[in-house]
C-alpha cells in the first residue's frame, strides 16, 4: 500500500493571522508576501470566515501530466509533488492544468507547495493548529502518479 503525505486544513480553527502565508513566502522567496505563498488564507465575506488552501499533492498529478518539460515529479521521500527549477521553462501549462488553483508562476519561479522537504513550516508555525501534515494510504494506485 502506498503511503502519502499532504497538508490538511481546518478553517474553523483559523484566526486569520496569515502566519502560514508569511512563513511560506519568507522561507521560499525571502520576502513576507501573501502573494508569494503556496498556502493561502482567504477571507469569506461578509462575516469573517476564513478559507485555507494549499496543494493536495494529488494522486493523479494534473500539473505533472501537463508539463511539457517534464519538470514536475513526486518526491517519493516526502510525497510532495515538486518542480525542478532547472527543467522548468515557466510556460504556465501546470497553472492551467491544476483543477484547484494551487500552482502559479510568480516572477521567475513556480509557486507550489513542496511540503518544505517533509517539514512544512506553515504547519509548524500555525498558532491554532488549523494546518496539519497527515500521512494517509492511497485508496488505489494511479497510473503515472509517480515518476
Amino acid at each position: 500500500m502506498t503511503m502519502r503525505q499532504r497538508i490538511v486544513t481546518d478553517a474553523t480553527k483559523c484566526c486569520g493571522c496569515r502566519v502560514c502565508e508569511l512563513i511560506c513566502s519568507l522561507r521560499h522567496a525571502g520576502i513576507c508576501d501573501p502573494n508569494r505563498s503556496a498556502v493561502h488564507r482567504c477571507t469569506v465575506t461578509p462575516d469573517l470566515q476564513f478559507m485555507l488552501s494549499t496543494c493536495a499533492q494529488c494522486a493523479n498529478i494534473h500539473c505533472a501530466q501537463a508539463c511539457p518539460a517534464g519538470a514536475i515529479h513526486r518526491d517519493e521521500r516526502t510525497g510532495a509533488v515538486v518542480v525542478d527549477a532547472d527543467l522548468c521553462n515557466l510556460c504556465g501549462a501546470c497553472v492551467e492544468a491544476c483543477p484547484f488553483d494551487q500552482i502559479a508562476v510568480v516572477g521567475e519561479r513556480v509557486l507550489k507547495c513542496d511540503l518544505c522537504g517533509g517539514e512544512p513550516q506553515c504547519v509548524a508555525w500555525c498558532p491554532r493548529e488549523a494546518l496539519s501534515l497527515v500521512t494517509y494510504a492511497l485508496r488505489c494506485e494511479v497510473e503515472g502518479a509517480t515518476s
Binding site: G16, L22, G30, T43, L48, R128
Partner: protein
C-alpha cells in the same frame, strides 16, 4: 535595502495625489510608523488648527515591522488633532492613535506605502481605493448614512476583493461625534483621537488598500530566528490556553480587579459577566496578521431579543464594565450595545461613562430627567435610544456627542466629579487606579498628551510583580535598575521615573508597528524587536539607539502638544484617585504598586516631579527645553524656528 519611507499624499480638495520620500537619515532618527507619522503631521499642519478643518491632516502609517512575520507586528497608526475638547479654554491635543490589523497594514506595506497622508476635504462623500501605485477616488453616496463600519467594509470587500485592508467610518464619524473612531478590518479601532470625526469632516467614508508586492526583508534567516524566539516563549507560556480560549489578555481573573467599578459585589459581576458568560457568545478568536495570541473575537448572541446577532472586536471588557456602570444585568443586551457602537464607530468607553454620569445626576435630582427628545432613566431601552440619539446627534444626543467638557457645561457640573476611572484632557481613562493601582501605565494617563495608555504596557502593568522580573525588563532599557526599583526595606517601584521609559518603549513600538501585549506578559523583549528591525532593514542599530529614538519620539509628541499650548497644569492628577471608592467589596483607595501604602496627593505630585526630572523637562512648565530638542536632533528635523519652547 533602502531605509527611506514612501509617502502617498491624497489631496481631497483637488482629488489629486502626490508622493514623497522620507530620506534614510530622517528614518534612522524616527524609525517609521507612528514616529514618522508625527513628523509628517507636525511639519505640514499649523498649530491651533481647528480639528474639523480641511487642514487637519490625517496621517495613516504602517510600522517598520508591520506586514512581517515578527509576532504581533501588524499595527497601523493615525496622527491628527483630536476633535474632543481637552480643556475649558477649548484646546485639543494632537494624538497618535493605534490599531492592530489583519489585512490593512499588510496591504499598505505590500503596496509599498509606509504612510498615507489625507489632506483637505472632499466636496462629496467618497472613499479612496489604493492599489499599489494606483489611486481612485470613488463616490460613496451609496454608503454614506446607510452603512456602518461592518456593513460598509463588507460592501467594499465584495467590490474590491475579500482580502483588501479596510478603514471605515460609521454614522458617528459621518455625524462628527467628537469621540468617534475609524474601524480597521472590521475588528480593530483607531480610537481616542477623533479619527472617525476627522474622516467624517473630510467626507471620507473609507480607505481601501490592496498591495501585491510584499514586504522585503534584508536578512530572512535572521528574521525567522528572532521571530521563532517569541513564538517559543508564547508556546511555553502557561497562560496561553486561557488566552486562546477567551481571546483576551489577562483573562477574567485579571480584568475583574483592574477594571472593577465598585458598584456591584464581585460575585454578582462574576455571575453576570464572568468567563462562562463570555463563552456563551464567543464564536471564534481573531488575530492580527503575524500574531500568535489573538485578542479580537467574532461573537454571536445566543438568545434573547438580539439572538443571532454577529459582531467583531473585543466586546467583553467593554460590556462588563459598562454593564456594571449602567446597571444592566443582561450581558447580551450590553454586547448588542457594543455592536451598535462599533457599527457607528462610537467610542463605547466614553459613551457608557458619560451616560452613566448623566443618568446618575438625573437619579439624584441634580439634572432634569426630561431632556430634548427623551426622558432619561436608568433602563436598557433608554440607553438604547440615547446611544442612537448620540450617534445621530438628535435631541440631547447632540450634547452627548460633544464629549465631557461640553456636557459638563450643559449641566453646569465639573467632569472631575465623575466616580469611575478618572478624566484628564477631556478624555476618560480605561483603568481606575484605585482598582488597578498606580503603575507606569495608569500614571501615563496623567503624563501622556493623549490620556490613553496606547500601548504603555510593560511587565509592571499587572500589579505586584516581583522586583526581579521587572528588573530584567528594565535592564535592557539602559537605565540603572536600582533607580527604578527598590527591594529593601520593602519593594518599591519608582513609578514617576519608570513611566518615562515605558512611554519611550511605547513610542518605539508604535514606530515599529509592534503589539504591546507581548511585553506585558514578558513574551518579547526590546532586544527582540531590535534584532527584527535590523533583520528587516539591514541596519545595525543598537539597543541604546533604539531607546534613544523612543525618547526622541515622545519629545516630538510632547512638543506638538506644547505647540498647542499644553503645559504642566494640564497634566492634572485626577481628583477621583484621591477619593477612596466605597464598594460592596470594601473601601478601595489608590495604593502604590505593591499595595502597601495608600497614596496622597503629595505622593502623586512627587511622582510627577520625578517624571519631569527623568524626562529632563523644565519641571515648572512641564515642557522640553530647547537644548534638549537640539540634543535629540529634533530641531534639525522640524526646523529651528518651530522648536523654541523653554530655554
Amino acid at each position: 535595502l533602502p531605509l527611506t519611507n514612501r509617502v502617498l499624499h491624497i489631496d481631497l480638495n483637488h482629488l489629486a495625489t502626490d508622493t514623497s520620500e522620507i530620506p534614510s537619515e530622517a528614518v534612522r532618527l524616527l524609525l517609521g510608523g507612528g514616529g514618522v507619522g508625527l513628523y509628517l503631521w507636525g511639519t505640514s499642519v499649523r498649530p491651533e488648527v481647528d480639528p474639523f478643518a480641511p487642514e487637519n491632516d490625517l496621517v495613516i502609517s504602517a510600522g517598520a515591522l508591520t506586514g512581517t512575520i515578527m509576532p504581533g507586528c501588524a499595527k497601523v497608526t493615525a496622527v491628527c488633532k483630536n476633535t474632543v475638547v481637552a480643556t475649558d479654554d477649548g484646546r485639543h491635543y494632537v494624538a497618535c492613535s493605534v490599531a492592530g490589523s489583519r489585512d490593512f497594514g499588510q496591504m499598505m506595506k505590500g503596496a509599498r506605502w509606509d504612510h498615507i497622508v489625507i489632506h483637505g476635504q472632499s466636496e462629496r462623500p467618497l472613499y479612496v481605493l489604493v492599489e499599489d501605485d494606483e489611486v481612485q477616488f470613488i463616490p460613496a453616496e451609496h454608503l454614506w448614512g446607510t452603512t456602518g463600519t461592518e456593513s460598509g467594509s463588507a460592501v467594499l470587500r465584495e467590490q474590491h476583493g475579500a482580502d483588501v485592508g479596510t478603514m471605515v467610518i460609521g454614522a458617528a464619524g459621518e455625524n462628527r461625534v467628537r469621540f468617534s473612531m475609524a474601524v480597521v478590518d472590521l475588528s480593530h479601532s483607531l480610537g481616542r483621537a477623533g479619527v472617525g470625526a476627522v474622516m467624517g469632516a473630510k467626507n471620507l467614508k473609507a480607505l481601501v488598500v490592496r498591495g501585491t508586492q510584499g514586504v522585503p526583508v534584508a536578512d530572512p534567516a535572521g528574521l525567522v530566528t528572532v521571530a521563532q524566539k517569541t513564538v517559543t516563549n508564547v508556546k511555553a507560556w502557561d497562560h496561553l490556553p486561557v488566552w486562546s480560549r477567551l481571546g483576551m489578555g489577562g483573562g477574567w481573573s485579571t480584568f475583574r480587579y483592574t477594571q472593577y467599578p465598585g458598584k456591584w459585589p464581585m460575585d454578582r459581576w462574576d455571575r453576570l459577566y464572568g468567563e462562562e458568560k463570555r463563552l456563551e457568545s464567543l464564536e471564534k478568536v481573531l488575530a492580527c496578521s503575524s500574531c500568535h495570541l489573538g485578542c479580537r473575537v467574532k461573537w454571536r448572541i445566543p438568545d434573547g431579543t438580539h439572538a443571532g446577532e454577529v459582531g467583531y472586536g473585543s466586546p467583553y471588557g467593554k460590556s462588563a464594565t459598562g454593564g456594571q456602570l449602567l446597571g444592566i444585568e443582561d450581558i447580551n443586551q450590553m454586547i448588542h450595545l457594543v455592536a451598535v457602537a462599533n457599527a457607528a464607530g462610537l467610542d463605547f468607553y466614553t459613551w457608557t461613562r458619560l451616560t452613566d454620569w448623566f443618568t446618575t445626576l438625573v437619579d439624584r435630582g441634580l439634572v432634569d430627567a426630561d431632556q430634548p427628545g427623551i426622558r432619561v432613566e436608568r433602563t436598557y431601552p433608554c440607553y438604547e435610544q440615547l446611544m442612537d440619539m448620540t450617534i445621530h446627534r438628535e435631541g440631547i444626543g447632540s450634547v452627548l456627542a460633544e464629549g465631557w467638557i461640553p456636557v459638563a457645561e450643559y449641566i453646569g457640573r465639573d467632569p472631575q466629579e465623575y466616580w469611575y476611572a478618572g478624566i484628564n484632557k477631556g478624555t476618560d481613562f480605561i483603568y481606575d487606579a484605585r482598582s488597578a493601582r498606580i503603575h507606569p501605565l495608569t500614571f501615563s494617563f496623567i503624563t501622556n498628551p493623549r490620556p490613553h495608555h496606547g500601548g504603555t504596557h510593560s511587565l509592571s502593568t499587572a500589579a505586584g510583580k516581583p522586583p526581579e522580573q521587572i528588573r530584567e525588563q528594565i535592564e535592557e532599557w539602559g537605565v540603572s535598575t536600582e533607580m527604578l526599583i527598590e527591594e529593601s526595606p520593602e519593594p518599591k517601584l519608582q513609578v514617576g521615573r519608570m513611566t518615562k521609559y515605558t512611554e519611550d518603549a511605547m513610542m518605539v513600538r508604535n514606530a515599529l508597528g509592534a503589539c504591546s501585549m507581548y511585553p506585558a506578559f514578558g513574551l518579547e523583549r526590546m532586544h527582540h524587536l531590535l534584532a527584527a528591525f535590523n533583520a528587516v532593514s539591514g541596519e545595525d542599530l543598537s539597543l541604546d539607539q533604539l531607546m534613544a529614538t523612543g525618547d526622541r519620539l515622545f519629545n516630538l509628541l510632547k512638543w506638538l502638544n506644547v505647540r498647542e499650548g499644553f503645559r504642566r497644569e494640564d497634566d492634572r492628577i485626577p481628583e477621583l484617585w484621591l477619593r477612596p471608592m466605597e464598594s460592596p467589596e470594601g473601601v478601595i483607595a489608590t495604593r502604590d504598586y505593591y499595595g502597601q501604602h495608600e497614596l496622597s496627593r503629595a505622593d502623586l505630585e512627587a511622582m510627577l516631579e520625578q517624571y519631569y526630572v527623568e524626562r529632563g523637562w523644565n519641571p515648572e512648565s512641564g515642557c522640553p527645553t530647547r537644548a534638549q530638542l537640539r540634543a535629540l536632533k529634533l530641531d534639525r528635523l522640524l526646523g529651528a524656528k518651530q522648536t523654541g519652547t523653554e530655554k
